[in-house]
């Protein structure tokens, strides 16, 4: 019997949510978590063997809201899940911090551990991760993020993204590589509807539904010298850093390169016809 695991990662960056409460008082963090709980419960109701995990992502740490660390027995679905995640929410919000950088991928790394651990129990499990993102990207975490994406692709874990405010190139790449859905929500107050319509169905049911079209992902690389997006570049064979112009020394690994000289073409000697 197939087990389907849904892991929901909610971004609870307090700065963004605090500013959001001032911008639009109708849509606050509690409403967002309400919609997430609606979706979580619906997922559990869809099939008896479905499993759920909810993680809140904060600036400096991430916290498993459900299932909680102190539960050693099996899952208890339904209303217990609702109340425990509500408790977790208040704990997390009590911590304040000043940084604006958003770090979702670290806890995605944790999910993948958790998911793979369940897989090792011998059951067939199809899992997916849904990320609900509020604040902007933090470019410093590119490498860790890509590592997580490749690990997810290797273990056939689908990553979906539901973006509340600004577009995120990293999440677009993650969804494209793992085969998930990326959606930027036009109206935040209708979050529950979007979650239930787009993100609730399984991967194999999605082919039969009419869903938002795939987004154009920009896979061009940025050169190390100017940070411009380039279409043709030079790649150092040692450290794989990208440059837009040829330079004799690689700035990252300090290797000296050979400068390719134009090849000498020997002029062909024409045979003189003997004068008749």
């Amino acid at each position: 019997d197939e087990v389907s695991l849904l892991v929901v990662v909610v971004d609870v960056n307090p700065i963004w949510w605090g500013q959001q409460a001032q911008r639009e008082p109708e849509f606050t963090l509690s409403k967002c978590l309400d919609s997430v709980m609606v979706m979580g419960n619906s997922h559990l109701v869809m099939n008896r063997t479905n499993k759920l995990a909810i993680i809140a992502s904060h600036c400096q740490e991430s916290h498993f809201l459900y299932p909680s660390k102190h539960w050693k027995a099996g899952d208890a679905a339904g209303d217990d899940a609702v109340s425990s995640s509500r408790d977790g929410k208040y704990e997390v919000l009590a911590v304040t911090n000043d940084q604006i950088s958003e770090e979702v991928r670290n806890l995605m790394a944790r999910n993948i551990h958790r998911v793979s651990k369940e897989l090792e129990a011998g059951q067939e499990m199809k899992s997916r991760i849904l990320v609900i993102k509020a604040a902007e990207d933090c470019a410093l975490q590119y490498m860790n993020f890509m590592n997580v994406i490749f690990a997810a692709q290797k273990n056939s874990i689908v990553i979906d993204a539901c973006v509340l405010a600004t577009d995120s190139g990293l999440l677009q790449q993650a969804c494209d590589i793992t085969g998930g859905l990326y959606l930027k929500i036009p109206q935040k107050s209708a979050l529950a509807q979007y979650l239930l319509w787009v993100f609730l169905p399984d991967a194999n049911q999605r082919s039969q539904l009419v869903l938002p079209p795939p987004v154009h992902v920009d896979y061009r690389a940025a050169c190390f010298c100017h940070r411009n997006l380039i279409e043709i570049g030079y790649v150092c064979s040692v450290c794989l850093s990208i440059f837009c112009n040829f330079s004799p020394i690689c700035t990252t690994c300090e290797t000296a390169f050979k400068i390719p000289l134009p090849q000498m073409v020997k002029p062909k000697k024409k045979k003189l016809k003997p004068a008749t």
């Binding site: 944790r110 551990h113 690389a221």
Partner: protein, 398 residues
């Protein structure tokens, strides 16, 4: 005979009383020692770390598969050939996963001749379908090591200097039939900096030992199918680059993916250049990758443009190789009794039940055995470290 550091053989006293490794416990069962040995094997692979050595990232590898009479032997189930081809499919998948910008070619040898099954290419599908079809070939005659190495060398010597040129021979027979002196060929291979490694299926053959030693490769003989798989996995990782390989800047293109739908008026269906050779692939497609230099269309990356010769890759392909350049340190092992702190694995939130706990040296968080394996094999970053880590922002795509 020349002076060479040979491994000690059985008659020289190299192996003595190998049964003493296994010890029984009070009830007479071997379970504890077997588990211990398996546990150590699991951990051994994690620690094969070369340190700060330059690696050959762009690899051109030829795999030579021996399809001589000895491959019909049934010591690997169902016979050696089927088992080898199945493991080769696994190898090709893993190879392209770890080295996305590299290429593989397959050569088979039988009846004293060698022929190319597939040419050097960067697309795994072609190789896998060729391997699947090769299961029906008859195994006959004797292999020819000279001919197969010669064939590989003719293609590899034209490859650019910054790539690593390798040959992996899967050799099952104990004999080889060569048209001329193989030691001369070994000298030529050494001059061309081609590294040859051999995996033997029967026993150790002296000419293979000399071949691998001279060219700088490795030689192993398999014990059973699991060991065979482990040896193949060992060849998936990029080897240290030889000191004389040139480092150069390779010109590459990063094409955009054009997604067009039928409703878009300007989009017209067109042929992809990669399907010109075979008629079985899909013909006309709407979207694809356009080469930035000559605008030829391709359906998948990485590929070398047939029109203008530019290598086309996408940024995630290069990002896949990064964990080779920045390898993770191994975690410290500590017995469970000595460990103070909550008995929960930081990664999977499960209880710590194994006999030892693994501690990350940077952030001092504890992990269980399976999470440790997973972190080092697949994830390549510690989940607790990246909470506070400030990685230099060298790779920014938007």
């Amino acid at each position: 005979m020349d002076e060479e550091p040979e491994r000690t053989k059985r008659w020289e006293g190299g192996y003595e009383r190998t049964w003493e490794v296994l010890k029984e416990d009070e009830s007479g069962s071997l379970k504890a020692t077997v588990e211990d040995i398996l546990f150590k094997d699991k951990r051994k692979r994690v620690f094969e770390n070369y340190g700060q050595v330059r690696l050959g990232m762009m690899r051109h590898l030829f795999v030579v598969i021996d399809t001589s009479r000895t491959m019909e032997d049934q010591d690997l189930k169902p016979n050696r050939l089927t088992s080898t081809l199945k493991l080769m499919e696994y190898f090709v998948d893993e190879y392209f996963d770890q080295n996305p910008i590299s290429q593989i070619g397959i050569i088979i040898t039988k009846n004293k001749r060698a022929e190319k099954l597939t040419d050097l290419a960067g697309n795994p599908q072609k190789h896998i379908s060729a391997l699947k079809k090769a299961v029906d070939t008859t195994c006959a005659g004797e292999p020819s090591l000279y001919n197969s190495l010669n064939l590989a060398m003719h293609t590899l010597k034209h490859m650019p200097g910054h790539t690593s040129r390798e040959v992996l021979v899967i050799f099952s027979s104990l004999t080889t039939c060569d048209p001329s002196n193989i030691y001369d060929l070994i000298k030529t291979l050494k001059g061309l900096k081609i590294r040859v490694s051999v995996i033997g299926l029967s026993a150790e053959v002296r000419v293979c030992t000399i071949l691998t030693r001279e060219t700088g490769g490795t030689y192993h003989v398999i014990l059973d199918e699991t060991h065979f798989r482990e040896l193949l996995t060992f060849h998936v990782k990029p080897p240290p680059a030889s000191s004389s390989s040139e480092c150069s800047l390779i010109r590459m293109g990063f094409p955009q993916h054009a997604i067009a739908s039928v409703s878009d008026q300007d989009s017209k269906p067109s042929f992809s250049m990669s399907h010109l050779d075979n008629s079985s692939g899909p013909g006309l497609t709407l979207g694809g990758y356009y080469c930035p230099q000559c605008r030829a269309k391709y359906t998948e990356l990485p590929v070398e443009c047939k029109v203008c010769g530019l290598t086309l890759v996408s940024a995630p392909h290069l990002a896949r190789s990064f964990h080779h350049l920045f390898p993770m340190d191994a975690f410290q092992e500590m017995p469970l009794e000595e460990f103070e702190g909550e008995r929960f694995c930081e990664a999977c939130q499960g209880e710590l039940k194994d006999k030892s706990v693994f501690i990350c040296s940077v952030c001092s968080s504890a992990f269980c055995v399976e999470c440790d394996l997973f972190i080092h094999d697949t994830l390549h970053c510690c989940p607790s470290c990246i909470h506070s880590q400030m990685v230099p922002s060298t790779w920014l795509t938007d």
